[in-house]
């Protein structure tokens, strides 16, 4: 049992941190957000750092260093509020592509890892809420080929992506856990339409409409749902790590503000009512950090163990992000409400994160349904 990072992991974290501090300042970020929420130029810089290969094995053209390295990279990206969806492509979509037939893998994974192809997961449907097994999008076989019909929502950088990993059913009703498969659909294909928009945190998403769009089968019904769940859990672990970076930085900003802002002739950080709030924020930060580690260290575990740990982490994350975020704004006072000052952007990022991959109540339900007689980290 140890929580030390290896030298390689530390070096990666420092490299990302340097890029975030020198290359992704608030002004650049604001410009990217105003231009739509995605910068191909920044994407290229991220690719140069090697981050887009973090979830792809060396054999498939990546530089996977394992979940802990990915966690540290995400934390550093979170500190800089990086808008480009590194995890969505490099970890989430890549985890599905890793299960694809060799030919498909050979065609896509090296280009994902190098930044030449942006592939994202398109699974969210209007009526599904946070369920993965509610799928209305239909897949129809025509000889060896497939076509898909349906609609997916909130697809990260949907109108800037080259291809989508799409959940669609080959049989059954919308709520049937059987009959769900995963396909690859290229954005340039016939019958594919996207409509892009910004999210509250400035990042980019899109609605995806599929009308008889040609598709390649990635994972057949049966294993596909488990593959999808693994991709989502991978995304949650990455999101938790990113959120630690977001909270860490927002906490730093708040503490610095409290030591400079004066009212009644003294720094507001001298007031006990506010000091206790800071202690409580630190508590939420450290609990969330602990659970971020836990989710990451359980990603490779048996699916039931993994699912429980990840759901627990998302519950902690949701509680921590909301408390720390709301208090950070409160302690900043009016300046915290402004668009001009960076704190509000951290707050909006945290708010967005709570609802991605299932919100706190959804995952509390997951924890609740999966409790065992025993309790604790090793239960």
């Amino acid at each position: 049992m140890n929580f030390e990072f290896s030298d390689d992991q530390e070096q990666l974290a420092q490299a990302v941190q340097r890029w975030v501090e020198r290359g992704y300042g608030f002004e650049r970020r604001t410009a990217i957000a105003r231009a739509g929420g995605f910068s191909a130029e920044a994407w290229g810089e991220i690719a140069e750092l090697g981050l887009l290969g973090l979830g792809t094995s060396e054999d498939d053209g990546g530089m996977a260093m394992g979940p802990v390295a990915a966690m540290l990279a995400m934390e550093a990206l979170g500190r800089g509020l990086v808008l480009e969806p590194v995890a969505a492509v490099a970890l989430v979509a890549a985890s599905v592509l890793a299960q694809a037939p060799a030919q498909v893998r050979a065609r896509w994974t090296p280009r994902v890892a190098s930044g030449d192809a942006r592939v994202v997961l398109a699974y969210q449907e209007r009526a599904a809420r946070y369920r993965l097994d509610h799928v209305d999008t239909r897949a129809v076989a025509a000889g060896d080929a497939w076509t898909l019909a349906g609609a997916k929502s909130l697809v990260p950088i949907g109108d800037q992506a080259d291809a989508f990993v799409v959940s669609a059913r080959t049989s059954g009703d919308a709520d049937d856990a059987n009959g769900i498969a995963l396909f690859l659909v290229e954005r340039s294909a016939a019958g594919v339409q996207t409509r892009g928009y910004a999210l509250q945190d400035g990042s980019r998403a899109a609605e995806l409409t599929l009308a008889g769009a040609p598709a390649t089968l990635l994972v057949p019904p049966g294993p596909a749902l488990a593959t999808l769940q693994l991709a989502i859990d991978t995304g949650i672990a990455a999101l938790a790590a990113e959120a630690i970076g977001v909270m860490d930085k927002l906490f730093e900003l708040t503490v610095a503000y409290m030591n400079t802002r004066k009212q009644f002739g003294v720094a507001i950080g001298s007031f006990q009512a506010l000091r206790h709030r800071v202690a409580d924020m630190k508590m939420q930060l450290e609990l969330a950090r602990s659970m971020s580690y836990y989710a990451t260290l359980r990603l490779a575990a048996d699916p039931a163990v993994r699912r429980r740990a990840v759901a627990q982490a998302k519950v902690q994350l949701g509680q921590s992000a909301r408390y720390l975020g709301q208090q950070a704004i409160q302690l900043h006072g009016g300046i915290g409400m402004t668009d001009e000052y960076i704190a509000s952007h951290y707050f909006k990022r945290l708010t967005t994160m709570e609802m991605q991959f299932g919100d706190t109540l959804h995952h509390l339900g997951e924890v609740s349904a999966r409790m065992l007689e025993t309790a604790g980290v090793f239960a």
């Binding site: 049992m1 990072f5 508590m283 519950v315 924890v367 609740s368 025993t374 309790a375 604790g376």
Partner: protein
């Protein structure tokens, strides 16, 4: 990063588990696991069993007879004791005063006091709090005036846990009123059988007399019982508090109690009520997060890197979890937690308890555990300390 314990650590755990399960008297384990009343004899029997094995002072350095375990081994030992239902080690001797005597006491004091602590034969109490000195500990007023080779001690200590059982008590006493309050405090070891020492139990809201007032009325204490230097007691007290904090999260016991909560909820049928079960789920997330935080601290200690400065957080969260768990256990019992029959807290009590005797401890434990956010440095004081490390003074 690696979550799993090494094969050596797992083997160590297996050995400890086998020994604890074989050595813990079943009647004592039954009381602990069911939240029933423990007598002085129960606690001391277990202390002596540990003492005979050399594990009562399990954090002691080997030169003083400790087993030489590292932080992770100590954690595994404490976890196995907790999960088996062993009584909490009464900390005042082996965990609190012994490290102070080792660090600051004379060789003669070490020879005189440590063997009795290590064996579990001598019961120590803690004389810190006073009626006017709770969180503001440095304001202690109990006076020790030197006359020749003795101190004459006058004053009062309070909230002395198990003081009615104590053979000896270590006290913070005022030996000077000059300078800052911290500068005039000395650390004195007092035989509780000395003439002039009076112990008066304080009945708490659960009906139990767990804490006491201790009065000192012209008590004569040989100067040989002064630890270290006169007026340096505050330094030793702070050193002691640092030792007290190592297992302050008490997460192992909370894991055991959470398992008990789940069993209770199932027996009562309230497990099927999702509103209730979600509350248990929230507690479970808290317990896992706290345990991860404890493991992070242990890893930092074992790795010899900069220690994580989260002791205050561990105390705050650990105590809140203990309280919440007891609260949910009581709520699981529902209205059948309400009857108050003092005798029903005794193991094997044969009386007629509405609903069944298993309900007797639920409310009592809830009431009793309100103490956890107050003692050991109240959670508000802990927040002050945490904030100070973040914001500065």
């Amino acid at each position: 990063m690696d979550l799993e314990f090494t094969p050596q650590q797992q083997a160590f755990r297996a050995d400890v588990r086998a020994w604890v399960r074989a050595s813990l008297p079943p009647d004592i384990g039954h009381k602990v696991r069911h939240g029933l009343r423990q007598s002085r004899d129960d606690m001391q029997r277990w202390a002596r069993i540990l003492g005979a094995k050399g594990w009562l002072g399990h954090a002691w350095p080997t030169e003083f007879g400790g087993p030489g375990w590292d932080a992770i081994e100590r954690h595994l030992f404490e976890e196995e004791c907790a999960l088996a239902g062993a009584p909490r080690i009464v900390p005042f001797g082996p965990v609190m005063v012994a490290p102070v005597i080792m660090a600051f006491g004379s060789a003669e004091q070490q020879r005189r006091f440590l063997p009795g602590i290590a064996s579990g034969d001598v019961w120590w109490s803690q004389g810190y709090s006073e009626p006017g000195s709770g969180s503001d500990l440095a304001s202690v007023k109990t006076r020790a005036v030197r006359e020749g080779d003795r101190y004459i001690v006058n004053g009062q200590k309070t909230w002395t846990t198990f003081g009615q059982h104590g053979d000896w008590i270590f006290c913070l006493v005022r030996t000077s009123t000059e300078g800052k309050p911290q500068a005039g405090i000395s650390f004195l070891l007092i035989d509780m059988k000395s003439p002039g020492v009076t112990v008066r139990p304080i009945v708490l809201m659960d009906g139990e007399a767990e804490v006491n007032e201790v009065f000192f009325d012209d008590v004569q204490v040989p100067v040989d019982n002064l630890v270290g230097e006169e007026n340096q007691g505050w330094t030793y007290a702070k050193y002691l508090l640092a030792h007290e904090r190592t297992n302050i999260a008490d997460v192992n016991r909370s894991k055991r109690e959470l398992e008990r909560l789940k069993r209770l909820a199932q027996q009562e049928g309230v497990w099927d009520d999702l509103r209730f079960r979600d509350q248990v789920a929230l507690l479970e997330v808290d317990v896992v997060a706290l345990e991860m935080m404890v493991l992070r601290v242990l890893s930092a200690q074992a790795g010899g890197r900069k220690a994580l400065d989260v002791a205050g957080l561990l105390k705050i969260k650990g105590s809140e979890i203990q309280q919440r768990c007891a609260e949910l256990q009581m709520l699981a019992g529902g209205a059948f937690s309400l009857p108050f029959i003092f005798e029903a807290m005794e193991a094997g009590w044969q009386g007629d308890f509405v609903g069944g005797p298993q309900y007797a401890p639920l409310a009592a434990n809830y009431l009793n555990l309100r103490k956890t956010t107050i003692y050991g440095g109240s959670n508000e004081v802990q927040r002050n300390i945490v904030a100070q490390t973040i914001l500065g003074v």
